[in-house]
Structures are given as C-alpha cells and as structure tokens.
C-alpha cells in the first residue's frame, strides 16, 4: 500500500508574540515545527503500513527550510520525502495550494500508484481545514474528513471503513480506495523516533521538486496569481470603548463585594435574575 501524507511546516504559534506598540509580529527566534495536527495523520499512515506493508511518502509545499519538517517525519518512519518548492508558489491561498499539492501527488502516483492520501485536520497557521478537501476534489478522490478511526482496510477488495466525527455523533463510512482522509486530532499518539530511523533520516535524500518537476505548467493556477482570495489588511482586535465597571465595597470584604455585584447585576438584568431563580435546583 502506498500512502502519501501531506504535512506543513508552521511557526510554533504558542511562541509568537505581537509587538505591543507596532502591532507587528515578532517572528525572530520562533521555532518552526511540523504542524501538530499532521502528526496524527502521519502516525495513522505509519500504523497502516505496519499492518499492511507498503510505504509512506511525506509531501510538503513550502520554502527550502521546510526540508527540516520532512526530515522530522523521516525519523518517525516515513520512507520517502518530497519538498515542492518554488518562488512561483509564494502567496498561495488554499485553492492554489491544493492545486500544487494535487499536481505533485499525480506525479508521485505515476511513479508508484497512490492508494491513500492523508492530511491533518487543519494547520495552526492557516487554520482553514480546506486544503485536504481541495486536494481530494482536484484528484477526484473520495473525501473522508474528521476521521477519528480507520476501522478496516481491505486491500484486495480496495475497500476502507472509517469512523468520522459528524455534528452530534459519529458516522461509520465505507468507501473505495484511493481516497483522502483528513485525520482528527487526539486519535493516536505519535511513536518515538527509532535510532535506525534517525540515522536513515540524516542520510536519506529529500527529493526537491520545483514547479516544473512537480508537473505544473500553468503558472496562472499557483501562487498569488492562482489565489482568488487576498488579504486586504491586518489589524489588531478593537479595544472596547467601555472598561469594566469596578465593583467596590466598604472594606472590600468578599461578602460585601458579592452582594454589591449581585444587586447591580439583578437590578439591571431582571430577566437574568428570573431565569436563575426559576431554574430547577
């Protein structure tokens, strides 16, 4: 079985700070990591490989330094890594990103037929959850989003059964290979990198494809040109005009503060009071 996992290198958003005065992003020193959601996709792919044999190819589109993210995936046990990188991809929105990734997957497929494509649920920087569905539509693959469990793969019958998180419940879906799965977070736990894989990752050559090598001839479909959406401005959340009314009480005893608050709250919001009083105790 040949599985492609799409991963993205993202800035560790927990460490991003905004300059308090200029409102600009302070990126210096913010480490780049593999998008945490993508690790659930990678682990699921590796588990399927453990069970059914075959190989796992990790794929990313990004700047040259995204190679580090791919190497990280190799240490976990991915067999092969491909970096699609070209200046022409700059400024891509999700439509243009899915175009480039779909082209690359077609290329991979020509080499060795792809049975399954995995993506994460979403990225922590783009945060759209759109790239997975986009790739599926472009490659005409069956789309399974928010998958919480891959229940069964029958390679001979080319069938797959999964559990999918739906609103208010879980759908059990059966479909045909090839298909694309976007994996839900918290569904598995990434294995530790083995010594063997760490050595292999250090030696293994990451394949680097530019636009042409990725099989893309139409430059109007990629990068800023191929992106219907544009960011027209970036701004800080508005400060509300009104600051909180501070509750004060003689001596600041907790009980007096509490009574003053309740008094104000209920006098000004009688309906809220009625609702609270009416609820069954």
């Amino acid at each position: 079985m040949h599985i492609v996992v799409c991963i993205k290198q993202v800035p560790d958003s927990a460490q991003i700070r905004v300059h308090p005065v200029t409102n600009t992003i302070m990126r210096q020193g913010v480490p780049a990591i593999v998008n945490p959601y993508d690790l659930f996709a990678l682990e699921e792919a590796l588990r399927l490989k453990d069970r059914h044999g075959g190989r796992v190819t990790v794929l990313t589109m990004g700047p040259p330094q995204a190679e580090d993210a791919l190497r990280k995936c190799l240490t976990f046990g991915a067999d092969e890594a491909i970096l699609v990188t070209d200046r022409a991809f700059a400024g891509a929105d999700t439509l243009a990103t899915s175009y480039a990734l779909a082209a690359a997957i077609r290329n991979i497929d020509r080499d060795a037929a792809v049975d399954l494509v995995f993506t994460g649920k979403q990225t922590i920087d783009g945060d759209t959850a759109q790239v997975g569905p986009g790739i599926a539509k472009r490659l005409d693959l069956q789309l399974l989003t928010y998958v919480s469990r891959v229940e069964q793969v029958d390679i001979a019958q080319r069938r797959l059964r999964v559990q999918r998180r739906a609103e208010g419940g879980v759908q059990v879906l059966e479909t045909r290979l090839p298909c694309l799965i976007t994996m839900l977070e918290g569904t598995n736990e990434m294995r530790f990198a083995s010594m063997d894989n760490m050595f292999r990752a250090a030696r293994c050559a990451v394949r680097i494809w530019d636009r042409e090598a990725a099989g893309i001839s139409d430059v109007s479909k990629i990068g800023l040109k191929g992106s219907p959406t544009v960011v027209s401005k970036v701004f800080a959340p508005q400060a509300r005009a009104r600051r909180a009314e501070l509750i004060e009480a003689e001596g600041d005893a907790p009980r007096d503060l509490a009574l003053t608050l309740i008094n104000k709250l209920f006098t000004r919001n009688p309906k809220l009071r009625d609702a609270i009083v009416a609820q069954p105790s």
Binding site: S13, I16, D93, T94, Q130, E167, V231, I276
Partner: protein, 362 residues
C-alpha cells in the same frame, strides 16, 4: 488564504468585475441539518446574511438539501421566519444522510444554475467538509472561520475578517475576480436573529440528478453522542469559567460550586485545560468553543485575545482578577479586583441566599 502579514497590492482600491461574474446576485446561506434538526449556526448566518443582503439590495436565500421524509419544507419555513426571502430546495433519496459527494454535487449545481454572489456556511464538520469541496469544484475563494462579515463599500464585495497568527491579530480577506464569494463562520460567533413566524417566502425546487449507485461512499451507521456526557457550552445561558489564576486544580472546585448554584456550565481557559484540570470540551476561545451566554463569570482569567474572541459575545461579563491591569477589565461589564479564592465562595453563598429568598417569596 494568502500568507498572512503580506497584504497584497491587488486587494486595494477599486477593481472591475469580469462581465460574466456580474450576473452573480444574491446572498445564500446553506441550511445544515442532521438527525432531523437544523444546526442553530444556520439561523445565525441567516441573521448575518440578512444584513449583507439588505446592504447590497439583493434577496437572501436559504439552501436546503435533504431526502423526502425529512421535514425539509419546515426547514425552509424556519429559514423565512429567521429572515430569508426565499429557499432553494433539493429533495432526493440519496441526501438522507450527509455525505460529501451528493451534497457537493447538489450545492455546486445550484450555484452554477442560480449564481449567488455570496455563499455562507457554518464552520462545523459538515459545513467545512462541504465548503472546501464546493469552493474547489467551483474554483472560487473561501475564507474559513470568519468572525466578521461586511460589504466592502468600494467594490460591493464581501470583506471577511478572521483571526490570524494564532489569534493575536485579525485580517480582512477579499475574494477578487471570482464568484461566489464563500465564507464559513463558527457557531455562536454571530447573534441569533429574532424569529418572526409571520414571515413568508418562496421556494425553488431543483433536481439532483444522481442515483445511489453513482455514489461511492456509503453510510453504514450513525452513532449519536451521549448528550448527557458532553458539555453543551456553546448554547449555555450562564457560564462560570476559571483560569490559571486559580493556581491549583483543587481550587477549580470553587468554579464548579458557583456553577452548581447558578445552574451554569463550566468553562476554562487553555492553560487550565492543558494542565488537565478540566476536559478539553470546556475550553473557551479561539482553539476551543465560542460561547454567547447571558452571563459569563471569569475567575482568574487574564483575558488574552485568544480567550476573548470566544466569549466577548456574552451579554454580561463579570471578571474576577487580582490584577487591576489585567486585559479582561478592558472588555468585561463588571470587574472585581480581588482574590478569586475568597470571592468565588462569597459569590456562591450570596447567590445561594438570594435565590433561596426569591423562591420563598414567590
């Protein structure tokens, strides 16, 4: 969306829409339903869509896809009650359960036939699944998880705002020479519009043109969640939430105590969830739930932007924090500067007494 932080030049100023795109008119809201009930986010979007449609001077339509036997006509009626002028309806047996393939086909076909300029969907598992597929099929722009929608006065286009950079900043996104302009919005981000049962509208039916054997993916089973076990934070009327200021997991019990007296749900900030004091389902904020209660009491929460975006839609916010300079006091309704560990029990007791007295009196 484009690389954040690099506002594109082409987003500025007036631009001419291609002639073939000028015929795209009207605002649509996809009406999402599961197990015979419409997701409230659809009505919230009808409310928001109404404002956009009025500003543009165009009709607002709901889009309902479902199988015969489902109350799809009642869903259309409800869409009218909440503000829609009109509904597009596709009824077909293959639409019995949500599945990507037939729903994508149906919505895409409606868009190609009737050409709306704006199409809004809820940012739910269903809405995001469908929106991503439809936008790619139509090769148009889609902005995810918007927190604000407006009409750009210069170009009559949709200006969709959403958090960027992990929520510390917002950005506005435009869809230029492509139609429809698509956006998803999370539940509870927009206010629920008033329901007016005297409102009426018209329905346009449309065929799907697909049969079950065309569809590869089958739904074998649907296992409903056990509602008792999952907190229903987004729809709670009262929420008491605690943050890192409570210092120790044991102190979080004070939040539960107050919630109990008020009949409230319990919420939390992210550090508290990450520390494992409460379940992940209770996290309020950008990477948690968006809530819109009548009353939100925040104890020991600083009010970081990522928390704020999830709860500032509350009618009344009470903040308890021992630091008078905490950002939460910039947007709370009432603030008490003091120690949550003594104030929470005092509030619990005072509310308990007030409620007991009121019940005796009535």
């Amino acid at each position: 969306m484009s690389e954040p932080g690099t506002p594109a030049r082409k987003g500025k100023g007036k631009y001419e829409l291609d002639e073939r795109l000028q015929s795209y008119k009207g605002v649509w809201v996809f009406v999402e339903h599961e197990r015979g009930a419409v997701h409230p986010v659809s009505w919230e979007l009808i409310g928001e869509g109404r404002k956009l449609a009025d500003q543009l001077g165009v009709p607002l339509s709901g889009v309902v896809l479902g199988a015969p036997g489902l109350p799809t006509r009642r869903f259309c009626e409800e869409a009218f009650f909440h503000g829609a002028d009109h509904c597009y309806l596709i009824e077909d047996a293959v639409l019995a359960n949500y599945r990507n393939e037939p729903f994508t086909r149906g919505l895409t076909s409606l868009v190609e036939t009737f050409k709306p300029e704006i199409l809004l969907l809820g940012a739910t598992t269903q809405g995001r699944d469908l929106a991503g597929s439809v936008a790619t099929t139509l090769k148009t722009g889609l902005t995810a998880d918007c927190t604000g929608l407006a009409i750009d006065p210069e170009n009559r286009g949709l200006a969709a705002s959403r958090p960027t950079f992990g929520g510390s900043l917002l950005c506005t996104i435009l869809t230029l020479n492509y139609r429809p302009q698509m956006a998803t919005v999370r539940p509870r981000v927009m206010a629920m519009p008033d329901r007016d049962a005297s409102r009426r509208g018209t329905i346009t039916e449309h065929p799907l043109g697909m049969i079950e054997t065309d569809i590869v993916t089958k739904v074998l089973e649907y296992i409903p969640d056990n509602r008792q076990d999952t907190p229903q934070l987004p729809f709670a009327d009262i929420i008491v939430a605690g943050g890192r200021g409570l210092k120790k997991p044991e102190n979080f019990q004070l939040v539960w105590d107050l919630a109990m007296v008020l009949g409230a749900e319990v919420g939390a900030s992210r550090p508290v969830v990450q520390a494992g004091w409460v379940e992940a389902d209770r996290q309020v904020g950008q990477s948690g739930k968006t809530v819109r209660p009548k009353l939100y009491i925040a104890a020991g929460i600083s009010g970081a932007v990522q928390h704020r975006v999830g709860m500032e839609g509350a009618d009344v916010i009470v903040a308890i924090n021992n630091d008078a300079g905490a950002p939460i006091f910039d947007f709370a309704t009432y603030g008490i500067v003091g120690n949550a560990m003594t104030l929470l029990p005092a509030l619990t007791e005072a509310f308990r007494q007030h409620i007991a007295m009121a019940r005796v009196a009535s």
